[in-house]
Each structure stands twice: as C-alpha cells, then as structure tokens.
C-alpha cells in the first residue's frame, strides 16, 4: 500500500514539474498526450465500460474545440476557462442527441451512425462560414499565465498545467466510476443488456448517460486542444481522427482508465517513430504496429501491466488486480456469441 501511494505521489510530481524541465517540443507532445488521454478516457467510458462502439469521437472533439475557439477568438466574448466548460456542455448535448438514435443499435450498425456523425460534422463546420471561419479555420492565441505568475511561468508551460488539472480530475472520476451505482449499471449493461434490464436497470437512461458523459469528456478535451494547438479547422477532425482514438483505447486496454492514458501516449508517439523507421511508407509501420499489438496484447497495455503486477511474489496483494479483472474484462461482445474465456487464457487453436 505504501508503495502504491509513493508511486502516485512520484507520478504526480513528475507530471507537474515536467513542463519546466522538458524542451518545448516534448512539452508540447506531452500536452497533446494529456489532451488525448481525456478523449481516450471519455471514449473508453462509452466503448470499454458501456460496450457502445463509437467512430465519432473526432467529431465530438471538433464540437468542443470549435465552441471554445468561436467564443474565445472569433467573437471574443469569453475567457478560456468558461469557454472550455461551455464547449464540454455543448458537446455533451450533442452526445445526448446522438445517444437517442443509438439506443436501439449495436455493433456495426451503431458504428455506421457514428461514422456518419464523423463525416457530417466537418461538412457542417465547413458550410457555416460566418460562425466557424469555414475553410480557413480559427487561429486562437496562446493565453499567458495570469498576472504575477507570468514572471515565472511561460505561456506554454501554463497551458500544460491548465490541461493537466482537469485531465487529472476527470481521470480520477472515471477511475472511480465503477464504484458508483451508475458505473456498475453501465458495466452490467455491457455484459448483458437483457440481464441488466431484468434487474431493473434502465437501458435507455444509462445508454444516454454513457453517450452524454463520454461526449462531455471529449468536448472538454476539445477546449484543451484549442488551447494547446492554437488552431482549429474542419481538416483537423476527420474520420481518421476518430479511428485514431479508437486505436488508443484498444491498444491501451478497454475498460481501463490507466489503459486509456497508456494508449494515448503510444498512439501519439507512434507516427514519430514510424517516420524514423521508414521515410517512404510511415503509415505501413503504423499499421503494422497496430496489428502486432492486437496479436500479442489483446487486452492492451493495461492488460499487460496487470499481468505483470499479478505475477509478483505471494506476499504482495493480489486481490486488487484480480478484482479489477472481473470488471474490466475487455471487449464489446456481440451477445449472440458464447461468452469468451477470460482474455488471459491462451486463444484456442484448431
């Protein structure tokens, strides 16, 4: 127990001091990882915990990012903090809206609805030029640290910290979600909709909750994105973006907040290393890595981590790890199939 607390404190210290130590390039990369982690956690809430597939989170990110950009830069009516919150709320409403048609759908049918969303939102952003700046996008200035702090903290360091605070809070909330009744209801729905309903869990209410919550997270991340990148355009949020977020949670580990963060880190770093390995075909490396990950780490990095911890000597606490396993059993399962063996078991070979 003491080790765990120490690990958390050390981790927190590292994160908070990082912007002052890292060079600007890595600092920016880590800021983006923080932003994308929030999206990944949000997506995992929907897909990992609640079993609803989404290929539309790029569009949610866009809505949050654009809302913030519009009120801060285009019309200059709000400072950053409330603007980001506004972005989150607007996106949550969009999530709620998307949740309604999604109520009766699952699997690829749900996926196509989210794909449609992913494609429609940039088109709409492009069309309503008076609001969104159309194809030119919106440039957003980096906010300096407020008042007296500006003497010690550079603008970009400030942005990093501004992103870190809500991200950490949201991650903590998500991690503890399964302790709440709502969280457990979501997991129950994922494991078996029919069984859950038969014990009185309202499918409708919780599915909508999942979409709304997931969208809120992503919308907030959108506001942070605007802060960090300083520019939004319809081209920044394509179907490709949505696919990358899905890759983050699958590589990181479905149903795990820690996994979402790991996944965000890996997928953000991946294009850099892919370019270094192959100038001519970086995407080929990217895809190959995804495939390799899926073959060797089906429960994602979080699953690997859990296995490593579980192998510790008998004196160490094992209950925590295995308790997590039963709830975080990976996957969106099609209910027409037989329940899978636990993911840690070796796959069947004929």
């Amino acid at each position: 127990m003491g080790i765990r607390v120490a690990a958390w404190v050390a981790g927190a210290l590292v994160l908070v001091t990082a912007p002052f130590v890292l060079d600007p390039y890595y600092r920016f990369l880590v800021t983006m990882m923080i932003v994308y982690s929030v999206v990944a956690v949000g997506l995992n809430l929907l897909t990992g915990y609640s079993g609803q597939i989404s290929l539309g989170h790029g569009a949610f990110l866009a809505i949050g990012a654009y809302t913030t950009a519009i009120v801060v830069a285009r019309f200059d009516v709000m400072p950053y903090a409330p603007a980001i919150l506004l972005g989150a709320v607007v996106t949550a409403l969009a999530g709620l809206g998307l949740g309604f048609p999604a109520l009766r759908l699952s699997g690829p049918y749900l996926a196509i609805v989210t794909v449609g969303f992913s494609i429609a939102v940039p088109q709409v952003l492009l069309k309503f030029e008076w609001l969104t700046g159309g194809v030119q996008g919106i440039l957003v200035p980096t906010p300096p640290a407020p008042g007296a702090l500006a003497r010690w903290i550079e603008a970009e360091q400030w942005v990093y910290l501004l992103a870190l605070a809500p991200a950490a809070a949201l991650a903590a909330i998500a991690a503890n979600l399964f302790r709440t009744g709502a969280g457990r209801a979501l997991v129950a729905l994922r494991d078996s909709e029919v069984a859950a309903q038969s014990v009185g869990i309202s499918l409708r209410r919780y599915k909508l909750l999942a979409f709304t919550l997931s969208a809120f997270y992503t919308g907030l991340a959108g506001g942070l994105y605007t802060l960090a990148v300083g520019f939004v355009s319809p081209d920044s949020f394509t179907l490709l973006t949505s696919i990358q977020f899905l890759a983050m949670i699958v590589v990181g580990g479905l149903g795990s907040v820690f996994g979402s963060i790991l996944g965000a880190v890996v997928i953000t770093l991946l294009p850099n290393y892919a370019s270094e390995i192959s100038k001519a075909a970086p995407w080929a490396i990217y895809g190959a890595v995804l495939i390799v990950f899926m073959i060797f780490l089906p429960t994602g990095l979080a699953g690997l981590f859990r296995r490593l911890i579980a192998r510790r000597p008998a004196g160490a606490r094992q209950t925590g790890a295995s308790a997590q396993t039963s709830i975080h059993r990976g996957g969106v399962r099609d209910d027409s199939q037989q329940p899978h063996p636990t993911p840690q078991a070796a796959p069947e070979r004929d």
Partner: protein, 420 residues
Amino acid sequence: MTVNSHTRPRRPLRSAIDLAVLGILLAVGPAGAADPGLTSDTILLGSHQPLSGPAATYSLIPRASEAYFKMINEQGGVHGRRIVYKYEDDTYQPPRTVEVVRKLIERDQVFSIFNGLGTPTHTAVYKYILDRGVPDMYVATGATKWAFPPENGFKPYRGLFGFQPNYLTEGSIFGVFAIQRWSGKKVAVLYQNDDFGKDGAEAFRHAIEGKLTVAADDVYEVTAVTIDSQLLKAKNAGADVVFLFAIPKFVGMYLKKAHEIGWKPAFLVSAVSNSPQTWKLAGPDCDPPAGKVQCAPSDGVFSLQWLPSIDDKDNPKVVRHYEIVEKYGSGLKVDNITIYGQAAAELMVETLRRAGRDLTRDSMLKAAESIKGWSDGLISNVTMGPDDHAPVEDLKVVSIKNGKIDKDLTDWIQGSRPKK
C-alpha cells in the same frame, strides 16, 4: 517582427581586455553567433509534407526537390555548403503539422522552413514559425494569404514567402478570359470543397459578376466517387462553359463523362490539373498514340500555365529535369508535380546563392527580396521585393488538344493582388 540572427546576449564590457578579446573575435568572424541549422559545410532545411494518407499524391514534391538538392550538392553545394533537406510526414493533419514543425525547429534546429505544404496544415503553424524567427520560404500552396496576409493589411511578413501563383490570380484570369471569349453565355462552376477550390471559385465568380450568368455552382468532396450529379446539373442548366477548379482525377472524370454523354461545353481547368496525366485520365481518345479523335469537345479545353509541361521535350530545361529525376530521384517518376518540386528547389538554391558565403537568416531574406526577373530555372520572371513576397505571379492561358498543350492564347498575364 525582426528576424534575429544573433543569439548571444550582449554583456556590458568591463575592461580593455574584454574589448581586445572581442575585437579579435570579431576580426576572426562571427562563427559562434551563427544561426541554427548552419554549419561550415551544411544548411539544414525543414518541411512538413503529406507522405502518407489521402494527400500523399503530393509526396512527390519533396522527393523532387530532394533530387535537385542532391545534384547541387554533388556539384559542390551552395558556396561550399551541402543542403540537407529534412521533410517530415504530417499526413495532411494540422495537429500533426504542429508537432513536426515544432520538432524541426526546436529539436532539429533547422535554418529555415521550406515549401511547407497545404493550406490548413500550414495555417496551423505559420504564426509559430514567425514568432520563432525562423524563415518560412516558398510555402507550397496557392493560398493568397502567405504573400498578402489580410490581418497585416495585405503587407507581407518579413520572413514569410509564398511560391506559386495564387488561386485568386487563377480565378481572376480565367474570369477575364471567359468574359472576352464567351460574352453573353452561361457558365457552370465546379470546385473542390476546400481552401483550394473555394479560393479560386470565389475569384472567378467575382471576376465575371454582372458579365456572365452562373447557371450552376457546385462543389465536390475529395472523397467523392463520382461527380455525375453535379455534371448533370450543369448540363441541364444549359451551361456553355464549365469552370473546373479541381484536381486531375476529377477533371479527368468530368471530361470523360461529358464526352460519353455527348455534351460539349468549353472547359476552363485549374493550373493544378494542367498535366498530360489529366488528359490521359479524361479518356482513351486522349492518349496521344491512339488519339485519332480529339478528346476535347470542339470548343476546347483551356488551362493556365506557369511551369513548362513535361511533354515539352523541345525545352532543354524539361529534358534536364528528366535527367535529374532519373539520376538523383531514387525511383521517382516524372510528373508535373515533380517539375513543381524542382522549380521550388531551384528558387531556394538561387536564394541561398545570392545570400553569399556569409549566410545568415537575415541575408537570405534580403537575397530573396532582391530577385528580379529571374528566369534561369524552370519558372520565368521570378520577381520579389520588400513588399512583394510572391515569387511567381504570371500565368498564361493555353488551349489543350489531343492530350497536349496546343497554343498559348495569351501572353503572360500579371497576377492579381487582393485589395483592401
């Protein structure tokens, strides 16, 4: 905004010894105060390019530029310095562009950004590049705002240079041409639903306002599978001339379909698609060897030109381009995109040359602004100045027949500049 070539802070001199030491150092040469990205025998240039993903067609541009730089390096480089060209993949996604440009500037410490490609991608980074005092040379898009930034009163930023004739120019020139040739007729517009298409289409519409009727005005997405519906709309509206601000694939589709259904308007095609490849896509009849029937309808296909055509084998510069690509291209194949890449590289090399052996960021910017009427490379009449950061502004209208450029219909026309 100033471009700083001195990175060492000035310290107050304390004694005569310091004065003497300083004097010796200054006499020897400001090697210590050199700009990043420069060593005694290399110049490091950086760029962001779509090497994979949906815009990967343009990945040929940096490869062609690289081939040209290799040749220059083999001949001794620029004043004894080799050019190292580091271009990174941003898959045409603005957030990736921000990442890779930061990497180039913060980690790799490039001397200058060169030929950054894509309007949405470059828009995400140009302010950052300016703020860091890094030159941003010859941006690879036709957006008008690089040379004529509206937020700066259309006056150029010191360290930012455009390259190709902007889309505003294209649309305006075509507009004037259309008015002259088809007065009283109907026009249809089809453009790509992004910055490239919208810019040109708007300029065209503005130029013909009041003089020609726009019978149909349509867009297409880059991911579209066919453009038949837009074509039918235009046909049914009775258009006599179709303005196609589109990339080769869609120009080819449009010409082919029109030919198939027997519709013969005139076509005005963006310079971006002025390439033998486009005419090949338009239909088997357009392929020169088999071409017995002209693929273009009788009223013709017209386009704009500022680069020599890869078909122009009589042009010694074109022949030389083939040779360079063959020898230094590592498997590259010639296309009008590779000509573009080499043209940009040529301009960059000339700029560096004029800056002299005493190369600094500042001297390079001054050198660029000093170029007037330069035609040694593939492009003719490159002119810049302190108020003019648009190297190439002249275009001429050409007609296309049987898959080749047929005639120059106009002389070089000076490009348009945005007015306040």
